[in-house]
């Protein structure tokens, strides 16, 4: 029966229809719309490259949101991966209660994207919120986290780093898959803990680091909920991420054409970075006989 092509196509049919209607068609439409002026009333007018020209030469807000988004990703992706790998490494031991800790650290990842957490986060970083209360007890003057152009983005960075659980769970599984014999061999050769980590662990888990990196980058470039809720893009656009700009253009001002152009620039950025990573992977991602197992 599994040879039946008809049945195979029948079962995959929903996916074919769905991917065409909800992904590939919108994907192409968004590209086409990016060359139009479309204020939602009436029909789109073709204006060539005007949207892109305006963006590059004439739109400070675009450059601002691009800078904000890129620098955010440059901080959050390494921070998240470093914390995730560190905690996974600490957990990778004959520990009692490993399941408890793993669940506790994964919890923020599950809840972190919710509006409820954003509301609470806003509250922690109030002028008199918990963070400043703690700073006060160690003798540091309160910081106007949400009101300052300089510090506001750090509240979002903190929230995102707090959600390192997904990457950690994946790292932990990879670490548990490193053959014990390699460590025993390194031990006999007198390798220190740090040398073992550097020369045994790291090379073997590079495919997983690579995977996590790609996923986190795609993720971070689309950050919306937290800056929309906590800082509302401000103050002075210091947390005005690309995703918020696109949302505002599309659903606040109904500039569908310009919003499409903006989203394509964001898409290109993600593709370009992923492309560079894929290209560079042949220099630092280590595939051995483990390839089948790790991928």
């Amino acid at each position: 029966m599994y040879e039946s092509k008809r049945l195979g196509y029948l079962f995959v049919l929903p996916f074919i229809l769905g991917i065409l209607a909800f992904n590939l068609f919108p994907f192409a439409a968004s590209f086409a719309l990016s060359f139009t002026d479309y204020p939602l009333i009436g029909s789109p007018t073709y204006i060539g490259l005007e949207n892109y020209e305006k963006m590059v030469f004439d739109d400070d807000l675009f450059w601002k949101s691009l800078t904000v988004t890129v620098s955010f990703a440059l901080i959050v992706v390494p921070a998240r991966l470093a914390v995730a790998l560190f905690i996974a490494q600490v957990l990778n031991f004959k520990l009692r209660g490993i399941n408890f800790f793993r669940a506790a650290y994964y919890l923020p990842t599950i809840l972190g994207g919710s509006i409820a957490i954003s509301v609470m986060w806003k509250f922690l970083f109030q002028q008199k919120g918990l963070v400043n209360i703690i700073l006060d007890t160690v003798g540091i003057d309160p910081i106007p986290w949400l009101a300052s152009e300089r510090y506001a983005v750090w509240t979002i960075v903190a929230l995102n780093t707090w959600q390192f659980g997904a990457a950690m769970v994946i790292f932990l599984a990879a670490l548990q898959g490193v053959p014990k014999s390699l460590y025993e061999a390194a031990e006999i050769d007198g390798a220190s803990f740090w040398q073992q980590f550097r020369n045994v662990t790291l090379p073997i888990i590079t495919p997983v680091i690579f995977f996590n990196m790609i996923m986190q980058i795609v993720n971070c470039f689309q950050e919306f909920n937290a800056p929309y809720m906590i800082t509302e893009g401000g103050p002075l656009y210091s947390t005005y991420f690309m995703a918020i700009y696109i949302y505002d253009e599309a659903f606040k001002y109904f500039n569908m054409g310009y919003a499409s152009a903006l989203s394509w620039v964001l898409f290109f950025l993600i593709v370009a970075i992923a492309g560079v990573l894929f290209w560079s992977s042949k220099y630092w991602v280590f595939y051995s006989g483990e390839k089948e197992k790790a991928r």
């Binding site: 909800f22 600490v90 609470m120 008199k128 997904a166 932990l172 599309a250």
Partner: protein, 307 residues
Amino acid sequence: MSSETIATALPKTRIPSNAEVLRTQRRERISLTLRYLILGSVGLLMLYPLFWLLGASFKSNQEIFTTIWFLPRDLTQLLDFSAYYNGWMTRTEFTFATYFLNSFLIVIPRVIVTLISCTLVAYSFARFEYPGKKLLFSIMIGTMLLPPIVLRVPQYLMFKELGMIDTYWPLILPSAFAVDTFFTFLVVQFLRGTPRDMEEAAIIDGCNALQLLWHIVVPLLKPALISVALFQFIWTMNDFIGPLIYISTVEKYPVSLALKMSMDVSGEVEWANIIAISIVALLPSLTVFFLAQRYFIEGATSSGIKG
């Protein structure tokens, strides 16, 4: 170097001396203590804010903004649920009962259609052979990297054309077509890892495809399907930008939009109320997570590693 070559390179008679054993044991004890210290303090750092907020929902504004300890000074305040009551009633004409009901009206259908469509499509990918399967499969992988943000505008225009704005259809319908490819992929990977013996036996016994799917494949897939249902439940509860774009009538707001509204209406003054209702908003997800955290971790792990 493989482990065998290392093993043969060692002198076979070498037995560790007592001193050596003691040294290793001591090193392991130190390492263990250090690990617990790190795990404990990082855990405290991560989870304390949540406890503090829980306590804050029982405090007066004055007390919230002065104390670092999470319990209120006067412990009898813990019996006073007025912040919860006020938060639940909101300052609008609707209570959170309406908003929770709305959320479930989105979440439950969406979870069901996700399960059905993912199972069908994953079954096709994992068991059948047909021309074009490889291409379809790579498209599926590709869309996992496609940021949803690029699709928002045309999708909105499409649902507008279909007259579905301000209904729950745009939030549910796509899932009925297995476009949440992360889930389909998770089920495919799981199914590929399960043996076909039972199915082959059932085919010989004359089962048709649907019987086979329902009686044999679905029971096998149960752990993976539970992971899918749980993730979809929580992600849909958390979803904010979807309802923000498509739902405009307050009466139809799900919890996430209602929270944003409560915040805008009374946020800066009635802190305890807002915190209280935020905690309540997290309860469904929290309950699901604690009842089934094993499935979350397994789901997250398998999709990543096998991915």
